[in-house]
């Protein structure tokens, strides 16, 4: 469907440095939280974003390409509520 290769959708959840639970919050809040989390002096290299807003499925990868980051992994959240997105530093 889209221009990039499909991101693997499997367990276990990869290693990460920070979890952002944005479930229950709607567009554009999860993306703003993601941007804020990586905007500090020493940003975490691997952020696991949890979101149940359907817009996140499109907007997380779109934000990554605008900000030179990579959606390294995505899958259903461990407890079944929404999806998890692993965002890492560096472009594709």
């Amino acid at each position: 469907m889209s221009t990039s290769d499909p991101v693997p959708d499997h367990y276990p959840v990869p290693d990460h440095d920070l979890v952002l639970d944005e479930r229950g919050r709607r567009c554009p809040m999860p993306i703003i939280a993601l941007a804020r989390a990586v905007s500090g002096e020493a940003p975490p290299a691997r952020v696991l974003l949890l979101a149940d807003d359907p817009a996140a499925e499109t907007d997380v990868p779109a934000w990554c390409s605008m900000r030179g980051r990579t959606l390294a992994w995505t899958g259903a959240a461990a407890d079944g509520r929404g999806r998890a997105y692993l965002v890492v530093a560096g472009g594709n």
Binding site: S2, T3, R26, I31, A35, A55, T58
Partner: protein, 414 residues
């Protein structure tokens, strides 16, 4: 048209909830309302009624009310008006008049077009191949085909169909029809119809073209088995769609009854609205080439200026091979809903494919299929006659509106 201007509505409320800061001016006849309305930049949703349509509508209401199938003076007059309208529309669509049927809406034309082709091709198969970015009416109609299977071909970042994937699924066999739009209704990208038609023809599969956004803006598509359009997109009244079925195409009416409109559309035709639709089409077609060039330059200006004056914006769709009047962009860290509200307060009507604006709270399937940013999405679509000054004013107010929305979220500088 002085004696037509007797209608003055006394209701001053606006059911769209626009402009809460000042009372809306009373609705009046076409005589005193500027055309197109200032600040109206949402022609892709619906175009304001063309002045030529207004005159034709009132004339046809007076002279075209009778049953065109009857054998008396009034009926013949109604028949004559309907025939003239059909010939006008056929000429613009490069079709024969007997290939043209009028429906109650563009959506009905799509529904009948898809269902009729699927019925005519039931022995071959029930697969329907469409692009992932078709109008929802096409996707819904395809999903409603009995025993049917909708297969969508993906698109590139501009929203243009992947021809390789399209050909692969058409080659798969059992395909009742292909359905491809002339140009995308949300991002303006034109589809490669010549190639799509060649692939479909090579496999003896009929092609349905949804031309709703391009008629009156671009030359009518040449290659199709069924073509659908909608009058209110080109400045005609609502309630008139066009279903064109090429001679020899195996289309079978899905309706239980079929005496009207060459047996393709049930029910008594709305002659006055059809005559008005034809008058509007004739009027826009007469100036189409020059007007499309003019509007395309304005859209080109929006495409170039928006990223210069608003940080973190992506302008979507093909920059060149696109509809002349339509542009879509998405702004990071804002919600489409608040942008629409602020623009409305500033006097501008535009639309958005962001999830917060949708009924189901999911983002536009078009933007999702393109992998495009969906937040802070705005679609600007210029009506025929749109003023350069309106576009300039829009570009003046846009940066502060986006920045204010970002500030509300504390998202500046992210």
């Amino acid at each position: 048209m002085g004696h037509y201007g007797q209608f003055v509505a006394h209701d001053t409320t606006d059911d769209h909830g626009r402009s809460t800061s000042a009372p809306d001016p009373p609705l009046t006849s076409g005589q005193s309302t500027p055309w197109p309305p200032p600040g109206y930049l949402d022609a892709a949703s619906t175009s304001p009624l063309h002045p030529a349509a207004r005159v034709a509508l009132l004339t046809a209401l007076e002279h075209g009310w009778a049953d065109p199938s009857r054998r008396y003076h009034e009926a013949r007059r109604a028949r004559q008006l309907l025939d003239m309208a059909r010939e006008t529309v056929a000429a613009v669509l490069r079709a024969r008049p007997d290939e043209i049927s009028f429906t109650g809406s563009g959506t009905e034309a799509i529904h009948l077009g898809v269902a009729g082709l699927a019925k005519g091709r039931a022995r071959v198969g029930a697969r329907i191949v469409a692009t992932a970015v078709e109008h929802s009416s096409v996707l819904h109609a395809a999903r409603a085909v009995p025993e049917g299977e909708l297969i969508t071909a993906g698109v590139d970042e501009f929203g243009r169909v992947d021809l390789g994937e399209f050909e692969r699924v058409v080659t798969g066999g059992g395909v009742a029809l292909t359905a491809v739009q002339s140009a995308n209704h949300e991002v303006g990208t034109r589809q490669p119809l010549a190639e799509v038609a060649a692939i479909s023809a090579a496999h003896d599969v009929p092609l349905l073209v949804d031309a709703a956004q391009s008629i009156g803006r671009d030359p009518a598509p040449e290659h199709w088995s069924v073509l659908c359009a909608s009058a209110h997109k080109w400045g005609g009244p609502a309630g008139v769609g066009v279903l064109a079925v090429r001679t020899g195409v195996r289309w079978r009416s899905p309706s239980p009854d079929g005496s009207q409109e060459h047996g393709r559309v049930p029910g008594f035709v709305n002659i006055a609205a059809i005559v008005a639709a034809a008058a509007a089409l004739e009027a826009v077609e007469r100036v189409r080439v020059a007007e499309s060039d003019r509007l395309s330059a304005l859209v080109g200006m929006i495409r170039a200026r928006v990223p210069e004056i608003v940080p973190d914006v992506v302008v979507l769709g093909d920059p060149l091979d696109r509809l002349p009047h339509l542009v879509t962009f998405s702004c990071l860290y804002v919600d489409g809903e608040s942008l629409l509200a602020d623009l409305d307060r500033a006097g501008f009507a535009v639309s958005s494919g962001s999830s917060c604006v949708a009924d189901a709270l999911v983002p536009s399937h078009v933007l999702a299929a393109m992998g495009a940013l969906t937040q802070g999405n705005l679609r600007v679509s210029l009506p025929a006659g749109a003023r350069e000054g309106d576009v300039a004013r829009f570009l003046e107010v846009l940066p502060s509106i986006v920045m204010r929305a970002r500030a509300e979220f504390g998202a500046e500088g992210l």
